[in-house]
Symmetry: C2
Subunit: 229 residues, 2 copies
């Protein structure tokens, strides 16, 4: 039976969650079929009950697993004969660093540039929840978070310099082949692409070339998903 | 015959080069004996001739190899039966990301806080060269680069957050065991420790706990080197 993949659902079939993109590409990397179930924020409790408050969630062989990194580790253990997501214990440990960098540098950077656009792409039933919860986190109206982004995008681009230096010298973070580290960072940029026409990257940025390389993987899984560029 | 290791030499036997620390710990990780040769900046050309303008340089079996990352790759290939520095191709590729992050975030951060202290610890014969070359790079007197560091150290600490999040959850960047990624970042902080009493990290910072763990490795190779804390 195919794995069930609960993915965050936005308006117009847009799946924008950066964490869910990590999982979607991990499933594809392992060559696993999955039954894709779009889920609104406010529906997550119906899927996961008390145990899960966020998506992605996968259901495999009667087990439900949440948290994108835990899902990647589960898939690596359960399907060891398929292409590796980590390339061994040290690769996994270093993916934790990429995870920490992405969560603490790239995600806040993206959110500060496109938060209102995210809000404008959530399902109708999620709108009140998202505005209230995000305005509490950011301490200001969504409109104010996003304001002035034209002046701030350069510093966001500069924050990606460690990635830029790396993908100038190699195809993927994983080396000649992509691995889970690529999917972690790709998710953050795909998040923006799916819900905003505001360009985070210039066309000639090596990071953008890398983003397109990852988007081309698995028959263009990332590229073909509805997005603005 | 033991490997010859040309290491940057400062005053009072202080070896402060962050890149040389990467190599020194890599040699220890591989369990290789080495003949340590302290080298002033202005002596490098006598060691390496036209081919090498920086240390570290190692000499092994009649070959000279420069550039700390190239040395690590050389050691991994030449001594495959000894503990791995990378844990495979994906681990190596991800170490390139850690290298890029360290070079573009941590090194400038450290230099902006202790550049004058570095100058005050170079060999007498290097002083004129270091002042002239570094003032050209930074576009101002060394004294001005370092000025006001008490007000800037917090933002340096914040820039280490990806490392902090990672080593809160695991012993080393390499996981349960240290690997080359640890030596890359350790070198940057050891650089400061060897030449400055200005504390980059607070005692209760998980990054400082990790720094001490790496310093304890190989019979305290990092910890026992002359330094200010």
């Amino acid at each position: 039976m195919a794995i069930v993949f609960y993915d965050l659902m936005g308006r117009d079939g847009r799946n924008f969650s950066p964490y869910c993109w990590r999982t979607r590409l991990s499933l594809a990397h392992k060559g696993l079929d999955f039954d894709h179930r779009g889920t609104a924020f406010t529906e997550i409790k119906e899927v996961g009950g008390e145990n899960f408050r966020t998506v992605p969630i996968i259901e495999d062989d009667g087990h439900m697993i949440g948290d994108s990194f835990a899902i990647a580790e589960y898939l690596e253990d359960k399907y060891p004969d398929r292409p590796s997501l980590f390339g061994g214990d040290m690769g996994l440990a270093l993916c934790k660093f990429v995870h920490s960098w992405t969560n603490s540098v790239v995600h806040p950077g993206v959110a500060n540039l496109v938060l209102l656009d995210i809000y404008n792409h959530v399902c109708d039933q999620d709108r009140d929840y998202i505005r209230a919860s995000r305005e509490k986190i950011f301490g200001m109206p969504l409109e104010d978070v996003q304001a002035g982004r034209e002046d701030r995008v350069e510093s966001f681009r500069a924050s990606l310099h460690p990635l830029r230096l790396t993908v100038r010298g190699q195809e993927f973070l994983g080396g000649e082949r992509s691995n889970y580290a690529d999917y972690i960072v790709f998710g953050a940029l795909q998040w923006a692409r799916t819900i905003s026409d505001f360009r985070l990257l210039t066309d000639d940025d090596p990071v953008f070339a890398w983003f397109k390389r990852v988007g081309d993987l698995f028959d263009g899984m990332g590229r073909e998903a509805p997005g603005y560029y």
